[in-house]
Symmetry: D2
Subunit: 383 residues, 4 copies
Amino acid sequence: MSTGVWLIGARGSVAVTGMIGALAVRAGLAEPTGCVLESPELRSEAVPGIGELVFGGHDISSIPLVKKAAALAEAGILPARLAGVVQDALLEIEQDVRPLPVHDTQAGVAEAIGADLDRFRRRHHLERVVVINVSTTEPAPPPHPAHTDLDALRAALDGPDPVLPPSALAAYAALCAGCPYVDFTPSTGARLPALDALARSQGLPYAGHDGKTGETLVKSVLAPMFALRNLKVRTWSGTNLLGGGDGANLAEPAANAAKCASKQRVLAETLGYVPQGATRIDFLEDLDDFKTAWDLITFEGFLGTRMRMEFTWQGCDSALAAPLLLDLARLTAAAHRAGRTGPLTELAFFFKDPLGQVSHALAEQWQMLRDALAAFDARITRR
Amino acid sequence: MSTGVWLIGARGSVAVTGMIGALAVRAGLAEPTGCVLESPELRSEAVPGIGELVFGGHDISSIPLVKKAAALAEAGILPARLAGVVQDALLEIEQDVRPLPVHDTQAGVAEAIGADLDRFRRRHHLERVVVINVSTTEPAPPPHPAHTDLDALRAALDGPDPVLPPSALAAYAALCAGCPYVDFTPSTGARLPALDALARSQGLPYAGHDGKTGETLVKSVLAPMFALRNLKVRTWSGTNLLGGGDGANLAEPAANAAKCASKQRVLAETLGYVPQGATRIDFLEDLDDFKTAWDLITFEGFLGTRMRMEFTWQGCDSALAAPLLLDLARLTAAAHRAGRTGPLTELAFFFKDPLGQVSHALAEQWQMLRDALAAFDARITRR
Amino acid sequence: MSTGVWLIGARGSVAVTGMIGALAVRAGLAEPTGCVLESPELRSEAVPGIGELVFGGHDISSIPLVKKAAALAEAGILPARLAGVVQDALLEIEQDVRPLPVHDTQAGVAEAIGADLDRFRRRHHLERVVVINVSTTEPAPPPHPAHTDLDALRAALDGPDPVLPPSALAAYAALCAGCPYVDFTPSTGARLPALDALARSQGLPYAGHDGKTGETLVKSVLAPMFALRNLKVRTWSGTNLLGGGDGANLAEPAANAAKCASKQRVLAETLGYVPQGATRIDFLEDLDDFKTAWDLITFEGFLGTRMRMEFTWQGCDSALAAPLLLDLARLTAAAHRAGRTGPLTELAFFFKDPLGQVSHALAEQWQMLRDALAAFDARITRR
Amino acid sequence: MSTGVWLIGARGSVAVTGMIGALAVRAGLAEPTGCVLESPELRSEAVPGIGELVFGGHDISSIPLVKKAAALAEAGILPARLAGVVQDALLEIEQDVRPLPVHDTQAGVAEAIGADLDRFRRRHHLERVVVINVSTTEPAPPPHPAHTDLDALRAALDGPDPVLPPSALAAYAALCAGCPYVDFTPSTGARLPALDALARSQGLPYAGHDGKTGETLVKSVLAPMFALRNLKVRTWSGTNLLGGGDGANLAEPAANAAKCASKQRVLAETLGYVPQGATRIDFLEDLDDFKTAWDLITFEGFLGTRMRMEFTWQGCDSALAAPLLLDLARLTAAAHRAGRTGPLTELAFFFKDPLGQVSHALAEQWQMLRDALAAFDARITRR
């Protein structure tokens, strides 16, 4: 039951950490720490094993995977030992990592992406290929009439002007090629009405947005705590300091705005009101992949007494994101196998800005996930 | 449906804050912030209103309630304005706060406590009286054969030597007098087998232990977060700095040990293993009721990458505990009304060291609570 | 030896806290905590006592001082008791707080300010009047040729267009009226070459900029620590969350930029290089005067080992600034009395952005201050 | 001008990091970051260069230096690259690291230590040898009459019972052999009156106690900050979490008490009063050499307003201590060369618990150090 994982941004830190991790787990060189699907309570027939994943992808960068692995080891994200051991396997994956196609029209680019996906599928005899966007965050695109209508979109893509941002074009190409699509970033991806229609007409599922790896993960348990205890949150302010490629990109105001909006949603929807305060993202190159977030929460208890909580989170972004990448590849493959189509709202557990009107409380999201796996298993067995 | 709330430690900060808060909410002078039962999802027929609670209790201290209220206002725990407004109502409650009875035998003390409870019930035509221990933490008592056998206990209480620590004697007296019992502290209370047998034979419920107000509350959402994400917690160390009467008492090594054990249970039972590290409690008189806790958590992600989280919690103990006191009085009254007997394991949401083998994850405890309320409602309607 | 203190922004939090504090210390109702000049090592003949200060000032607000005092007590900045006791004395000061004059030309405004200063001096038989700017932070003004030449400035002030920002116009008026001038804010104040020339020609001293009350105070001891230990600071990032009038004003980008630049100077000049990172100021209304700052410092030790330090500072801005206000009034009066003219570089201890090329290390600034007091004493005795 | 550095505890983390660091700096492979004497303001003729240091020592452990270096690299304390490069040089030092001598009497042990020192000096043609104790912290020894009288001590050392704790016996042996002695730990070392007399009679200097590397370093700048600003520190509580050999040893109550006392001295002597609160040290094996300290400081400003500051320090103990070890070896050699005898109170900058009644303020200690170097230079030139 080999499953292809086609990564948009295949030479980035998250992608390469995910590849090496999957290779290491398969070879028995590492524990699947951080892989949610390895919890005993989430065992499922429908889900492919980590060892059954086959990697490929697109990237605009041309840094060799082996060199990227060495850089990750140097930065302390990977054990130096591991980067060496998996070298041969990385060289093999290298065969399936291609430059992002260029063409006069976006329709042409989409077709070329589709051709790459087909070649990958045939070459490895894959049952299915899940396309996952792990490239850097885009600014929100300007609205366009073709975004809401699939026919209009098809027509517009043939024109000379770009209609879709890269993440949405990748989603379009994946869905046209019969591949489920996951957006691990806050970018547009598949969340345009025209693409939702395309997914449904193709009988394909899609998932997103924005992997929940650090500060927002903590928010998704602390905000329900205040809510369940009926304590009134007065202010919630967050500062995120991060380096790495993601940090540099988020220093751009437009991308920053997209990300910050994604991060605040959990508060309003969990508490039922919007406390004062904002989330900031600042680029601090020297921190590289080791992000530091500080949050100050002030709240009010019985008889108006003012209290406060602070937390500091110092996490390695790639080490937190990579196992979720593997989880999402496997889950989306299972959903596809089980015949699930449209937005995978049941995967909210993994996202800062989940699809649909769903709970942001981590514990409820976990139950949704467990139920979804049971449903996938049931459908597969029934067949 | 008037419900009596008899507080062991009625002149302490938590008790007096609870009384004033209930008076203020009844008079429309304060919101029931921090009162869990006021959440719309927990509406219940079985539960008496905050305004239906009538207060009394025992205390070894003789400080007048009005004076204690002034001290709380001075310390910033109560709005100064409020302490003035409720003065008359406090003077009335003062009539029902009595010195802890003394007698040659513990059986005699228990009888005198029972007499006080009866008088209180009759004087206010109360449907039931819930006894709640909010006095300072005791050290764990030395084991005694009479603790495990009700008949042996009854015989031993007639002897000249003390057999039960004060919290357990209060539980014994309450249960003998037909009153449900709640232990808001880590003290022994009703958790001896002989007292469990007494509760069951009397058809009474009891609850405990140790109100979950600060650091442990946060642990009960963060520990599940690490578990659900399959991240490995390597160390978890906590430092609690607190003043006030509770702090002074916890500076005693034996009481401190009882409290710290209560605080660590959540980690082992949620994670399934015991991370390195300990919880410390240090007395810092000057902080008074404003406790500060600092926790350092180090954890391991994918491929062994080391990460860390810190949090600081600066909470007012009385302001956090008092609304829970009201919740527990109301819930225990509802349980009694619904015919529930024995340990109220379904109230784990409120306790650091809950009765029974139950989940320590806050979200699961909340669902248990919601289910329990529904069950109480169902039983009452059926009658 | 009565000394007048004329406050630009006399109805603001810092000004009113300073007035009340001086009244309370004089009446023996409060300790002079936070008043640097009360340290035994800084005793000086030249310096007037706190009880010898007489207050007046300008403000565009018209909130009565007594009402402002009540608001400060309500916000927990002043003991409620104190606000009541000093009520009569505040009503007297109220006589000397006037609306900021208006006029067709800036020269006219300056003249009117001078007239107010004269009236104040005569009314109270004051030996001298120190003018201190504690109004809200201004953006940096656009450059103007008249800023560098006193004659050109005098000519331009007669014209219809404003040439000077309000803080500089106040400095001009004060110096023309024979009054030393202090800028407690990061605004322009007296730091234009034309105003420096005016001060020297008038034989007057002036001081500034931007009272060092919180995060920067801590920086001024931590940065030298890293420097003296030859540790390499790689990044230093600061987040300041503050409410109150100052916070609202600093939410304006231009004022924010002026303030942030003032806050970063200490690092570059103490370390000799500029670490990565920035200082942020975010408005968080609910915090009111209780500012919270969080700083993350990452540094490198022997053989490149990476380490880090974080601090959180939770201070009441007015309570930190007001005693410095009294210190600066007294010191500037002493400098004037001792015949000191031009920029008071020796007062760097008090400022985020001190005048002149001076050390930013707090310990060295303290020695400069002690030496300055000794010099003032020597000059006065000699006379 | 070769200078021997004889380390008691030569196979420990601090010692080996120091050796490797000196080798790396000499070879131009590393910057002398953290070496205080490399600051331009502290250039001195009297001080030997880092490259002129020759290492040897005693240890009860027999782990080879090369193996210890590999372990340090594995733990992230040393760059892996460096541990390889200096391998040959470490094998040479290995020749001069000997097991601690054993003998029937302490006099016999001292004599054997002296013989080892002589052999080391002759073998390398060293101008002088500085003995530095970097072994683990001892509990304070019980008082003994021989501690205060040199003749009594000499007599007692010939007896069968131990009179001196190991650190003091090492100091005795060093001084008898004509070597200056430095205690980098809080152990007894040379601070007994009998040993002070011995140092003076031998014309030798000695230094100590307890290298100031982390939390106390920060205290030595923050405590003066509060003092200079006349702010009243109400409470100061510290928690130190540390692993490594030092941590394991400090888990012993007696050693812990010695260390904690050393850490609190700075507050009382800088502030002039003792704030509430204590310093805790807890062993947390998993942190290894990366110590984490958290301090909470509450203080009072003008008119009694309560404020607070927290800091977290996450430092690598060996990386902080090793460069100070090199500084102290060089400084003590310079003092000896300049004819300085008795306690080196002028080196307080380096110690938590400095010899003599000296300032604990870091900035003043720095000036003392600069003055001392100037004095050494002057004496050497004069000769």
